[in-house]
Symmetry: C2
């Protein structure tokens, strides 16, 4: 079935998920929607986050998608359950997959989770991880400045490093061996985070596990694209397509990207 996969994020962070999806499912067509006008979601109220998520889903459905990936931890934490109840189309989040990943990777069973204020306050990661393994200790830290830093294109500057130093100090002291990047923007800060936490702490990006979950859903529902031609990606944003295009090109390493405002 050559109907596209819909991927939605509050901004450009979801591109890290899109990248993994393209690796795992190269023949699928994709429609990406980044709500760049209202980013960051992480400091907004529950009501607003739910409203924005539903609007994004409606938009993707209007683009005739066959499945939706909420590639935003905040939107997943606050609205995935509600969205799955409201819509008939299959909808996948990123937190279950991320939790699975961290449980398989930790050795000392002490892990850290970083995310937006809304994601951390929701306790979603803690609950999902504990459901898989009660004995794991989970320490959390909200990092509200990380998303604006990424959206501003400052991921590779000393601004990112200095911010990471402040946010991650306490978690490092807790002796965690694994750290979940609980926001799809954060893999873009990987170098700065790695620089601060060092080589001993494993960074978990839920994107990879999410694409595998997505593939399994497509197989189970029998809606895989059976063609063997590389899929097409279309990008839509609610604000500032030029900036999005610039960062997307750099991130995805492609030249021919068309972004619709």
């Amino acid at each position: 079935m050559d109907k596209p996969i819909g991927i939605f994020d509050s901004g450009l962070g979801g591109l890290t998920v899109l990248k993994e999806v393209r690796n795992v499912l190269p023949f699928e067509n994709i429609v990406y929607f980044g709500d760049t006008k209202r980013v960051p979601y992480g400091s907004k109220s529950k009501e607003d986050i739910i409203k924005y998520t539903f609007e994004a889903i409606d938009f993707l459905i209007s683009k005739n998608v066959k499945v939706i990936v909420i590639a935003c931890n905040t939107a997943t934490a606050i609205s995935l359950d509600l969205a799955q109840k409201k819509y008939d189309i299959p909808i996948i989040g990123v937190i279950k997959s991320g939790s699975k990943s961290v449980v398989s990777k930790t050795k000392n069973k002490v892990v850290g989770v970083i995310g937006t204020t809304a994601t951390i306050n929701s306790n979603s990661y803690v609950e999902n991880i504990k459901e898989l393994d009660k004995s794991i200790k989970v320490f959390q830290k909200a990092c509200p400045l990380f998303v604006p830093i990424v959206e501003e294109g400052f991921s590779k500057t000393d601004v990112a490093k200095e911010t990471a130093k402040i946010y991650l100090k306490d978690l490092i002291n807790k002796d965690i061996d694994t750290l979940v990047l609980g926001c799809t923007h954060y893999p873009l800060l990987k170098d700065s985070i790695k620089y601060v936490v060092g080589e001993k702490i494993n960074l978990v990006d839920p994107a990879k596990e999410t694409s595998i979950t997505l593939r399994d859903v497509l197989i189970k529902k029998n809606i895989l694209n059976k063609k063997s031609k590389n899929g097409i990606c279309e990008y839509f944003v609610s604000d500032n397509p030029e900036k999005f295009s610039l960062i997307a090109k750099d991130l995805l390493g492609i030249e021919d990207i068309k972004v619709f405002g």
Copy 2:
């Protein structure tokens, strides 16, 4: 007249204006409203900024204020004219006063303006400065990350300095002798900005001139508080009163601050 002055900002930046108002008008009572739930305004649409400004004004009017200071450059740039048309109560912005200040201070007639994306795109400072002196050259730069940095309490960290380095590089190269802090949050970053631009560039904070404009309006309308007892300040925010209280105490150097959520 002991009815209070209403001061409104998108977050805690307006406290820099409140501080000046208290210096100039110590006997006045003040009601402060910080829209901390929806900060930053600077990256929002015009429609949203106007809506939020009107809601804030309605709230302050419900607190029985006699005059309103829009202590937010973004809200001033986008909605002051509309607000002055809609409401009978006197309403004062910060941009006219800031422009007056910069015109009186520049010697080489080359000035810089920094502000939020919305303030810079509105061209308000350029127009107001040119109206006072056509021969002045104005260079602008939007600094969208500065507000989140202040709201996060990172004003005095290396994060602020590194961000200032990136944003201000081009303006310094333009040989400006005066720089307008065109956002009420920015005076809180004064040390970091000073560190980057050096001693030769004059920093202009519109807050002082705004309080003098305010005093003149109170005199002209004959609504000065004639009592000689220090005024009382009440603080209201739309989100996270604890964080606001912490930063406000530090900024205003007072202990007894009550913030209503």
